[in-house]
Amino acid sequence: MNSDSIILSGKGVTKVFGFGSRKTVAVDHVDFSFRQGEVISIVGESGSGKTTLAKLLLGLESLTEGTIYFEGQQRDIRSHRQKREYWKNIQAIFQDPFSAYNMFRRIDAVLLDCIQMRGGGRLPYEQKVAMMREACSFVNLKFDELTNKYPFELSGGQQQRLMIARVFLLKPKILLADEPTSMIDACSRATILDMLMALRAEIGMTPIFITHDIGLAYYVSDTVYIMEHGRFVESGSADEVILRPKEPYTRRLLNDVPKLHEEWDLSTV
């Protein structure tokens, strides 16, 4: 594997909140390198620092220490213009779709923004509509029923699908999905995951899943990173980490998930 295919990497990435005796090290000298096109999962419990790491990757939080490299270059997002450039390459889907939208903007405005951000602001209106229609049909939403609606009129699963339609229009190189399916039921979860995987094939992006659901991580990813107390305790291919875990922490996480073919041992809590 040559170094060209590394899309995002980090060296000694650290985030500290507070100082003195109230100091919390949320992300503690983490090293990683994500290859282009592979599906990555970062698995950890609540409070393990996985969401903070997601924010660092997105550039929503500043690093306390360490460097992040994007496509081999040191990432520089000090100015707002640089941030906008960077966000064309990396987009995110969060856990709660209800709070992800501007509640005063209609759905077509949400999608038009995406076209504009990709530099399609001067395209003729018909072409914009065609693009929006294509994006909506990709996620099984009917564009004609949506145009005059506001995001709150959609169900959670529909909102999450609209999020994917946005990503479809934006065509980022990296998609960061922070617990994308934890608020929706198992059946829609299958739909969302299938769509994300189809989208990956369609636009060739690198998805990064941040999740506490080790089952989901096993199902979707090529490479799994297990995070505990702000550090990666174990990483490797999904089969290696999840079927043959080495660290006691990984084993505990696996043990805590209810399974179908193995006894769920409730005595170990």
Binding site: A186, C187, D213, Y219, D256, V269
Partner: protein, 336 residues
């Protein structure tokens, strides 16, 4: 023959919207839970699971209205009672309910013990504070919660701890039936396990006599409950033991649901998840025939003609489909 703790006969409840439309979210649902057993209810969002949970308590408040049917808790019919009586004598004493965000029930400005005092005094006004404290302490110790929690404020507790505190509080008067509606969905796997352990303990230690557990997480349901009932668009579509429903489903909907299970077990990677196409029907205008016909890959024109009854195959096992069981099994076999 075990005693039946909770029996529901043909219960129908509806929501009335402000445009005077009726939404029958629970449509002729019957169920039976014997002493020492647990029943799981599975289904998609909006299939009426949570409405059923609310309806089971016999406590209706607008926009939810009781329409028909009976709820019998320990040989006592609780339908048709005055809502205020239900609240004082049934809730907490006979049937207790834990919603998904149970932890939000705690009052942030008061200590846990004060919260428990409120609960007990609402139902048994004559209890003294000393007695309440002893009751709470004893119950917390029995359930493995540190008694120091009683003196704390909710902000000092973690999410899982808050959830367990509320569960312990809701069963402090030893109700016969506990209805748990997604008690662990908002938690991560480790806290989830602690909450589940506690609910199982309640059954094992005889604090509650029967459990109704609602969740969309099928692997969890399979591990927690003895029986599983699958709901779709307000109706029961299949009923059986956990083993039968998960590994040997009869109804096409149940089978489709089983295709969406994700568990970290070998051989599941790269298996394409079988998402069910389409969306559930609008319950304001439910379709006349089988409600699943629109999304069912085995649907025939007859499916949409007349409503379908629940066929009982043996005691406790039933499914709602016009195709006979043997034919369905043959269809499934041909697919493999």
């Amino acid at each position: 023959m075990a005693k039946t703790v909770l029996e529901v006969r043909e219960l129908t409840t509806r929501y009335i919207t402000r445009f005077r439309e009726s939404i029958y979210a629970v449509d002729h649902v019957s169920l039976k839970v014997d002493e020492g057993r647990s029943l799981g209810i599975a289904g998609e969002s909006g299939c009426g699971k949570s409405t059923l949970a609310l309806s089971l308590m016999g406590y209706y408040f607008p926009p939810l209205y009781y329409t028909s049917g009976q709820i019998i808790v320990d040989e006592r019919n609780i339908t048709g009672m005055d809502p205020d009586d239900v609240r004082k004598t049934i809730l907490g004493n006979e049937v207790s309910y834990i919603p998904q965000a149970a932890m939000n029930a705690l009052n942030p400005t008061r200590r846990v013990i004060n919260f428990i005092e409120d609960v007990i005094q609402a139902h048994r006004p004559e209890t003294t504070k000393r007695e309440i404290y002893d009751m709470a302490r004893e119950r917390f110790e029995l359930l493995g919660l540190p008694p120091e929690v009683l003196e704390k404020f909710p902000v000092e507790l973690s999410g899982g701890m808050k959830q367990r505190t509320v569960i312990a509080t809701s069963v402090i008067l030893s109700p016969k039936v506990l209805v748990a509606d997604e008690p662990s969905s908002a938690l991560d796997v480790t806290s989830q396990k602690m909450v589940i352990k506690m609910v199982m303990d309640l059954m094992e230690k005889g604090i509650i006599k029967a459990l109704v557990f609602i969740t969309h997480e099928l692997p969890l349901l399979y591990n927690v409950t003895d029986d599983i009932m699958v709901m779709y668009a307000g109706q029961v579509v299949e009923r059986g033991t956990a083993q039968e429903t998960v590994f040997d489903p009869i109804h096409p909907y149940t089978r489709a649901l089983m295709g969406s299970i994700i568990v970290p077990e070998a051989g599941l990677r790269g298996v394409k998840l079988a998402a069910i196409p389409g969306t559930p029907p609008n319950l304001k205008r439910p379709p006349s025939g089988c409600r699943f016909a629109e999304r069912c890959k085995y649907a025939m024109p007859e499916c949409r003609a007349a409503s379908v009854d629940l066929h009982e195959t043996k005691a406790g096992r039933a499914y709602r489909c016009i195709i006979p069981e043997e034919d369905l099994r043959r269809l499934y076999k041909n697919e493999q």
